[in-house]
Every structure is written in structure tokens, then in C-alpha cells.
């Protein structure tokens, strides 16, 4: 079993497009179903390209305080201790809880001298699943307005770990960034597929991401998506890639890739002979060879 984590520092470079197309291409090359794990919990989009509607298999629960107004003396101890400033004492009215800010640490419950705060639960997100002929999809989704996105990511990864031994190929699709959540996804992987684009901002963010990948110590392959983008910073990007001696592949910027994305399909099925489709299959072949 090989875990490929598809990531990219900058938003909108094409992580999800690469992840879903790779899953489709690798499945048809190996004749086996691929496990695709979408941990972009803020806005999971893999299922729109797979044209499936995932169903909830698990709720991600967090603590929230339940305040007994009768018992509360408005002493303000919980307000003082809450690390997230989610409890506010409004003069004349009382203790107010702002759920959007709450980190669910339960500190308030323990510091209240009157035991006026007890345990309540809330849903911070969901783990969902869907099946297609070529893909088993496990996906995490953050409930809008909740801030516990790392929790939802972690629970989604844990859920995937329970089953991923059954698969030869596991592909993780991540959110953008270089923080704790990305670190978790990188640590879970054997090979990192870093997706960038030939723009100045893409290069800057790739450099940051590469430092993190080296820190975590994983093998890396760079994918330059939207290769040939008019006006792009191709010279600067290729100079950086040469200098950093990383293996890299391109995916041609073409109309079919765009049209497939807009209509919610994989380009490898929408237009198998498009330059971008050929590039994706070539990438898939190389990645299969990279497997330890």
C-alpha cells in the first residue's frame, strides 16, 4: 500500500483536480479501486468531480458548555480562563456563549466554582463516504461556523487509516497551506505530490511548502499545473525547480481541463486525448513506479 498526499501551498493551484484525475487514472492502470481521502474539510470538492453524493458515516463531536443560569453567580472566572474568548459577561444580562469562537477545551466547566457549567455536545463536522466504480471516497467536512477544522481532519484521517490496508493506492487531497493540518497529512504519506502553478505567488508558496516537506522528510514530486499559462512565470519556476533538484512533471493548460472542471468531471474521462489527460496519465505511471 502506498499513500500519496496531494498538496500545494497556494490555494487554487489544482490539488483536487490532480488528486481526482490521478485516482481515476491509477485505478484504470492497476485495475483496482483507489481509496481517495479528502481532508480539505473547509470546502471538500472531490465528490463534485466524481459526481457522487457522499453520506454521513460519523459525526465529529466537540464539547460545548451548558450554562445553568440559576446557579451562575456571574463571577466571571470562566470568562477569564476561556482561552478562546468564547464566553462573555454582559452587564445586566448574564453569561453569553459564542459557539463560533469555542475551541471545546472544557476549561470553563472545570474552573466554575459553582459547578454551573456542565458538558454539552455539538457537531463540529462530519466524515462521509461514497463509492464509484474506480474510487472509494472518504471525506471530511467542517460544519460552517465551527473552528475545529484540525479535529475534523484528524478524525477523517483516522477513519481512513482503519480501512486503507485493503487498498494498493491511497490518495489524500489536502487543503492549501503549510500549517498543522498539512503536517498531519504529510506525516501520513509515503510520497508527496506538490501541485503548483507557473505564477509568482505559486512559486513563493511552493518554496514554503518544500521546506515543510523536507522537515517532515518525505519523498516529493512537483506537479506544475496550468503549464503554458499565458503571461506565467515559467522561467523563474523552472530555474527554482532545477536548483532544488526535485523531480517535476507538467500538466498542460488546455481548454479540455477547464471544461471538464466546470462540468464537474475528470478530464481523463471527458477528453482522454487532450494534452492535459496525457500528462496526467504520464504522471500516474511515474507515481506507480515510485511506489516503495
Amino acid at each position: 500500500m502506498t499513500v500519496y498526499t496531494v498538496t500545494g501551498g497556494k490555494g487554487g493551484t489544482g490539488k483536487t483536480v490532480v488528486a481526482v484525475n490521478l485516482a481515476a487514472a491509477m485505478s484504470s492502470m492497476t485495475g483496482k479501486r483507489v481509496l481517495l481521502v479528502d481532508v480539505d474539510v473547509d470546502n471538500p470538492c472531490t465528490y463534485t468531480l466524481l459526481q457522487v453524493e457522499p453520506t454521513v458515516v460519523m459525526e465529529v463531536k466537540s464539547f460545548k458548555p451548558v450554562i445553568d443560569d440559576e446557579a451562575c453567580t456571574r463571577c466571571g472566572r470562566c470568562v477569564e480562563y476561556c482561552p478562546a474568548h468564547a464566553l462573555v459577561l454582559i452587564p445586566g444580562s448574564g453569561l453569553t456563549f459564542v459557539e463560533t469562537l469555542c475551541e471545546g477545551c472544557a476549561m470553563c466547566m472545570y474552573v466554575c466554582p459553582e459547578k454551573a457549567i456542565t458538558r454539552g455536545g455539538r457537531t463540529s463536522g462530519w466524515v462521509k463516504e461514497a463509492e464509484t466504480d474506480s474510487v472509494h471516497l472518504i471525506l471530511g467536512e467542517l460544519k460552517p461556523g465551527d473552528r475545529k477544522y484540525h479535529d475534523v481532519m484528524e478524525k477523517t484521517l483516522e477513519h481512513a487509516r482503519d480501512v486503507w490496508d485493503k487498498y494498493k493506492i491511497v490518495i489524500i487531497d489536502t487543503p492549501p497551506g503549510t500549517g498543522k493540518g498539512i503536517r498531519m497529512a504529510l506525516e501520513a504519506s509515503d510520497i508527496v505530490v506538490a501541485v503548483t502553478e507557473p505564477t509568482k505567488l505559486g512559486i513563493l508558496d511552493l518554496k514554503r511548502l518544500n521546506r515543510l516537506i523536507r522537515m517532515v522528510g518525505r519523498r516529493e514530486v512537483v506537479v506544475v499545473n496550468k503549464y503554458g499559462l499565458p503571461g506565467g512565470a515559467h522561467g523563474e519556476l523552472e530555474a527554482y525547480l532545477r536548483e532544488s533538484r526535485v523531480r517535476w512533471f507538467k500538466i498542460q493548460y488546455d481548454r479540455s481541463l477547464m471544461e471538464a472542471y466546470m462540468s464537474g468531471r475528470t478530464v481523463v474521462s471527458y477528453d482522454p486525448e487532450a494534452p492535459s489527460s496525457r500528462d496526467i496519465r504520464a504522471l500516474a505511471e511515474e507515481l506507480l513506479k515510485e511506489a516503495p
Partner: protein, 294 residues
């Protein structure tokens, strides 16, 4: 006044809109402090041509790490029970913390009857203020690689920008948020006067924008939107305009010159002021001025 530019999905053009909005405000409305709240991938300074002079730089201590003094620990297990993140487990040698799960909020320290746990402050990022060649100071936050608690760093950035704007008499603050709807985005929107959503004509972006609207509703923030790259799919752009249900400032077309402007590290309004995209941006910003910017 503070405007936050965000989008539920990455790559729709937040930094593009935020950098050019800062230029517009600087030229027509007396000046703006720009804030890069995408602390895991900060790009705004580069989009504004880079730093010509750094005004100040400070370390950000955003996280706490609990440390257990085993000589004081009575092995009672209260820390293990009270941790909501299941980050502490009891072993033969006493409680052990899994720092990848720990959020550093300190409930374990509070419940420990032996006072055996203390919190150690940890540096998780940097905050710096740079001058740009356009007369727009940029407050940038950079989270250390692999670290969490980015929401707290965003609060600090917004606080620095507020103080800087008051000291220098600058009327507006433009915040460029991270992609998504998670913790740093909630912090970016909280307390802002207006959320400006940048949406592109794709189903993924519409979905992300709707999720972002739910966050704004929770925080009771005013919302306006621009449709970026509308010409890539005019039909879907029209669908978004009909479905999103927020005040639309206008549509901006995608042109090669937008990418060229980035490649030359110059905001579009400066690089190609007569391009169609620039003129559309100007129309959007004028509508923003008339409706919100005071």
C-alpha cells in the same frame, strides 16, 4: 473601517482583489493598511511589489506547550480524563502527552491537583510591517511551518493594523484572508465591517462561498461579492449571481494581462490601468465606495 476579502475556495483571486483594492483606496480615499491574514501562505506583500523598507518585526508566541513535572505528579489521571483531544495517556512512567494532538489550551494544568503541569510559551510565527512603493503599509503574519493556532495570529495582525492605522491616521484596513472557512478565516471575519467574497464561476467556488456566508451570518457581518474570471463561464457566472443572494459589486473578466501583472510583481491597476479587467475592478470599487466605504 475594515474590509476583509475572503473566499471559501482557494485561487479565486482574493489577493488580486485585496492588493488592487488597497491601491484604489490609497489613491482615492486617503489610504489603507493592508493585512495578510493568509498566514500559512502569505503572498500579499509580493502582490504589492515587495517590501521597500521593513518598519518592524516581532516574534509571535501563539501556542503553549504543557510540560509535566513527574516528580510532583501523583498519577491520579485527572489530566488524562479532562483532555478533550485525547492527547494524554497514562503509562507506567506517568502521563505522556502526544503533542501532535495537543491544542495547548491548558485544561490539564487547571485540573491537576498537584500543580505538576505548567505551560511553556512557544514561538509559532512572526509579524512584520513593511512599506511598499505604493505608500501602502503591509502587516504580514507568517506561521511557522507545521504549526497550529493560526486564528490567534490573525487576531494579533488585525490588532497591529488597527493601531498602525490609528497612529498614522489611515482610514481603511484591507484584510486578505486565507482560503476556506476554518479557524483563521473565522478570526479574519470576526470584528470586520464588511466581508467581500471573491467568487469564480465554478460549482466548487459557489459551494465554498455559500459555506462562507454561513460563517458571516454567525458573526453578523455585512457581505458583498465580486464575480472574478466571469468570462471563463458566463452561464455559470449568471447562475452564481442569481443564487448567491448577496449584493454583487460586479464582474471581472480573466485576461492574460492579469497573470502578466503578477509575473512583473505589479498590481494590475498600476500595470495595465486601461485593460478591461482594470476597468471592471474600478467599477466594483466605486460601487463599494458608494455603498460601504466611509
Amino acid at each position: 473601517m475594515e474590509v476583509v476579502v475572503a473566499s471559501g475556495k482557494g485561487g479565486t483571486g482574493k489577493t488580486f482583489v485585496a492588493s488592487n483594492l488597497s491601491i484604489y483606496i490609497r489613491k482615492n480615499l486617503g489610504g489603507a493598511v493592508a493585512v495578510d491574514a493568509d498566514v500559512e501562505a502569505p503572498d500579499l506583500l509580493l502582490a504589492l511589489g515587495g517590501s521597500v523598507k521593513e518598519r518592524r518585526r516581532e516574534a509571535f508566541y501563539g501556542s503553549y506547550t504543557p510540560v509535566i513535572d513527574l516528580s510532583r505528579c501523583s498519577r491520579c489521571g485527572r489530566c488524562v480524563e479532562s483532555c478533550e483531544y485525547d492527547a494524554i495517556r497514562m503509562t507506567e512512567d506517568g502521563p505522556v502527552i502526544d503533542y501532535t494532538k495537543c491544542e495547548g489550551l491548558g485544561t490539564c494544568m487547571i485540573v491537576c491537583p498537584s500543580e505538576a503541569i505548567r505551560l511553556v510559551e512557544e514561538k509559532t510565527g512572526e509579524i512584520y510591517v513593511s512599506e511598499t512603493r505604493y505608500g501602502i503599509p503591509v502587516v504580514t503574519g507568517e506561521l511557522e511551518l507545521g504549526k497550529g493556532n493560526s486564528g490567534r495570529l490573525v487576531y494579533e495582525l488585525k490588532d497591529r493594523a488597527y493601531k498602525l492605522a490609528s497612529e498614522d491616521g489611515i482610514p481603511f484596513r484591507v484584510v486578505d484572508a486565507a482560503p476556506g472557512i476554518g479557524c483563521p478565516v473565522v478570526s479574519s471575519i470576526a470584528g470586520s465591517d464588511l466581508l467581500l467574497i471573491v467568487v469564480e464561476p465554478t460549482p466548487q467556488s459557489l459551494k465554498g462561498s455559500k459555506r462562507l456566508l454561513e460563517v458571516a451570518e454567525n458573526l453578523r457581518t455585512d457581505v458583498a461579492a465580486v464575480v472574478n474570471k466571469y468570462n471563463l463561464n458566463p452561464d455559470y457566472a449568471a447562475k452564481i449571481e442569481a443564487e448567491l443572494g448577496v449584493e454583487l459589486l460586479g464582474r471581472i473578466p480573466y485576461e492574460d494581462v492579469v497573470v502578466e501583472a503578477y509575473t512583473s510583481a505589479t498590481p494590475l491597476l498600476e500595470y495595465a490601468p486601461d485593460s478591461e479587467s482594470s476597468r471592471s475592478l474600478m467599477d466594483c470599487f466605486e460601487r463599494l465606495r458608494d455603498g460601504w466605504l466611509r
